[in-house]
Subunit: 472 residues, 2 copies
């Protein structure tokens, strides 16, 4: 049995050459789809179609077998019928291919016969050292080099580069199912571990801990295959970057459903919950939190406390944000006397947290200065660790107005700020979101999530600070 | 003191004539805005601008005082400086105006001086019988007659008519802050009770209980002014239609924030929680739930049990839906032997709840028939009370394909079905949502909310069935 370590995963994300096994039927074949997606994404490495029925596809020479490729191959992407996969993997191993993404289905998730086929893959991996992701996976994505192993045509060709690694145990967390271009989550890597016959959560945590492009890891997992390994790898990762875990299969019904689609046995949720806490990871509870909360770590800021300022343009929004703060472990900041004076000079009603700018702005002719001064007073207060703004955009305050407001304010903002936008037009809300995010301000689809994200940041900052204190 | 009953509120929503007091400055004045919005919405009644500086606005004759209008006036909308409001309301009462929406701010929410002004309004109302909504309110909206009292220009002019009444204690629940046209919530009435100096939650519950256009009431409230009255009115309403309550100010911080923007004292959340349960209302917990869950009642279907079928195109989505079901008090339906046989004939893996259609469709050439037959088998099963579908829309299954799928299925669907859509393009997701909703299928922005809505429906159905049982 070959020795393996976390670095083995490099070939899954940073291959210089990729062989694709699957149907090359024009526009329809899954091999064709993978190659087309990689070309659209501007993959920087070499791509080798392997299919004995074709001599050429999308301008690339096709090969009858992997053995016929003269150059070395780092990664194989296999999307052929299940029964053909073990032989292909064996040939890849003989050729010296380092890693294989097996997209093909009908393995352990599909019953006993599939489980036996999957065991053959495991045997080959152990015998030869080739690493396998899947089977039954969508594979990997890397925004740094344009790698994408998805076999389904995506309909878009650009993803915002950034520091978030999303990894999962389901194909729904992948480029063909998510509005990655529209939402502009800033992504480093993605992967779907699926059946985890070889590469599992331990390998991926070790790889991502060392990946300089990844600043935060968001992990969807239904089960853990190697409990002790997971604890060690997660502990190591959380000392250098945050780890957010979305673990469904909490309920009995969820656990049964999980068993039937990944062949896994999910186990007691309390055990997972306690393990997640012990390793310093943070649990999120919905798909929306899984996708959105990691963005709070994109700029790698830490905060020194949990004191939140809430800036609202509606009293009702301020109350909901205050509730969300309490539930997220945040305290409402008590502004310093100097800040309270500065706010009172604007309007006696301004000296409050949450501040409700709605009635204050409706009582002045100089809305721009009043708004700038009030928000600046709050964001410059040393008793404030972080702030959340519930911001109206629409006829009364158009995109350009909001964008310029935040441009002026951001010059002096050193504290983390999250934004929730509300207004009358979905297209305007989306456009404003993208513009503010381009300024480094994460915009959340729900007010409560915008506040909770800061609670998660405060929680991780405290964890890191305790670690550093213990080490000193 | 004049006698008042729930019917007094008719003038707030169904006035034949409206007098608008406020600045008529072209494009800027708040009186102008209100009138312009009403004209844009095609308000069916007569509108009378009142402002002594103008003789005409937007083609309407303006009056120097309400007393100069020859015709009777049902409703006054007042958006003038606070100090001028008591006199205007007094003049309205003398003219015989039945109701006044007071949009003006700087009353009880703004301190002692404002509280004294507000008391003057209360005195006038008690003395003359004129009813007052607000002050500090956005007022009312009625999709049946095009009434909208919002003074801020909306930028759209159509709202889907339907059975949902949204009422609140904050101007954020109003046409100038929400994408009511884009989201197509099917609305009957809306109102913002704000400072509740006169009209309060009791009046509005009584009015909406009797309103034939309202099938479900969604109420945002931070406090209750008349506890016993609220219990009685809510009990009466829930015997004929569902009442969903979003009550923020749960936390201490939230309660303090609430006091500062509506002048209210929120009180202990446990008391509210218990009262909400006692009256047969259902509590929702986020803005998203407040806006989206009422749509499950739009078709006034009741269900006989809590047995849910989950139809997914991704195993991972099925697991999350199963968790959400458990949390919402729903059980996963056990399909009948006949249904299981029917599903097994399609694919052995189909005979499951949640069903994961992803791998089943990827194993067949005839995806349309397989999908139709599998979903029909489930929706026709008598052991299924309701179903939730997590549906992909995108390159592989475009809008038209999804719309036609649901068109075929809906012919035979008698059970409530909720939809969650996922895919790669936000614009496509929105377009598909609107098309499915036009077929009577509510689409939710989060998978978990799509499932929870069915749990709320099952809960209310059980409550109604128990009531009927007790009465029999």
């Amino acid at each position: 049995m070959k020795v393996r370590d976390g670095n083995d995963l490099k070939a899954f994300f940073e291959p210089e050459s990729v062989a694709v096994f699957g149907s090359l039927r024009d526009g329809m074949g899954l091999g064709y789809g993978t190659i087309r997606n990689m070309l659209d994404f501007g993959f920087k490495g070499r791509v080798y179609p392997v299919n004995h029925n074709y001599s050429e596809v999308l301008g690339l020479k096709a090969y009858a077998a992997v053995s016929e490729i003269a150059e070395p191959i780092d990664l194989a992407v296999v999307i052929t019928p299940a029964r053909t996969v073990p032989e292909i993997i064996d040939q890849c191993a003989q050729k010296g291919v380092k890693a294989a993404v097996i997209v093909s289905e009908h393995f352990a998730e599909a019953g006993e016969k599939g489980a036996r086929l999957q065991q053959q893959l495991v045997d080959i991996a152990h015998r030869t050292g080739i690493r396998i992701m899947g089977p039954n996976t969508i594979g990997t994505l890397n925004t740094a080099n344009g790698l994408v192993t998805t076999p389904y045509l995506l309909g878009y060709d650009s993803i915002q580069k950034g520091g978030i690694a999303y990894c999962s145990q389901s194909g729904i967390v992948a480029a063909q199912c998510q509005p990655l271009e529209d939402r502009a989550y800033a992504i480093s890597k993605m992967c779907d571990l699926a059946n985890k016959c070889d590469v599992n959560e331990v390998d991926i945590l070790n790889y991502l801990a060392d990946d300089p492009e990844t600043k935060v890891v968001a992990m969807h997992m239904e089960d853990v295959r190697d409990g002790h390994g997971f604890m060690d790898a997660a502990r190591k990762l959380t000392t250098c970057k945050p780890l957010l875990i979305f673990r469904p299969a909490r309920s009995e019904a969820g656990a049964r459903a999980s068993a039937s689609h990944t062949g896994s046995l999910a186990g007691n949720d309390e055990v997972y919950d306690s393990a997640i806490k012990q390793v310093g990871a943070i649990r999120v509870h919905t798909w929306q939190e899984f996708w959105e909360i990691p963005r709070i770590f994109a700029q790698q800021r830490q905060i020194g406390g949990n004191r939140l300022a809430i800036i609202a343009y509606s009293g009702g929004a301020g109350v909901v944000a205050a509730d969300a703060a309490a539930e997220a472990g945040l305290a409402l900041a008590n502004f310093t006397p100097a800040t309270l004076d500065r706010l009172r000079r604007i309007d006696p009603r301004a000296a409050r947290n949450p501040i409700d700018l709605g009635p204050i702005l409706s009582a002045t002719a100089d809305t721009v200065s009043v708004q700038d001064e009030a928000i600046a007073a709050i964001l410059e207060d040393d008793s404030v660790d972080c702030a959340s703004i519930a911001l109206y955009v629409g006829v009364l305050a158009p995109v350009q107005y909001i964008d310029e407001l935040l441009e002026r304010l951001m010059e002096n903002i050193s504290r983390p700020v999250t934004i929730w936008l509300y207004g009358t037009k979905l297209s305007v809300l989306e456009e404003t979101s993208r513009r503010l995010e381009a300024r480094g301000l994460p915009v959340f689809t729900e007010l409560e999530t915008a506040v909770k994200a800061l609670g998660v940041l405060a929680h991780y900052s405290r964890f890191r600070s305790n670690l550093e204190h213990d080490a000193a």
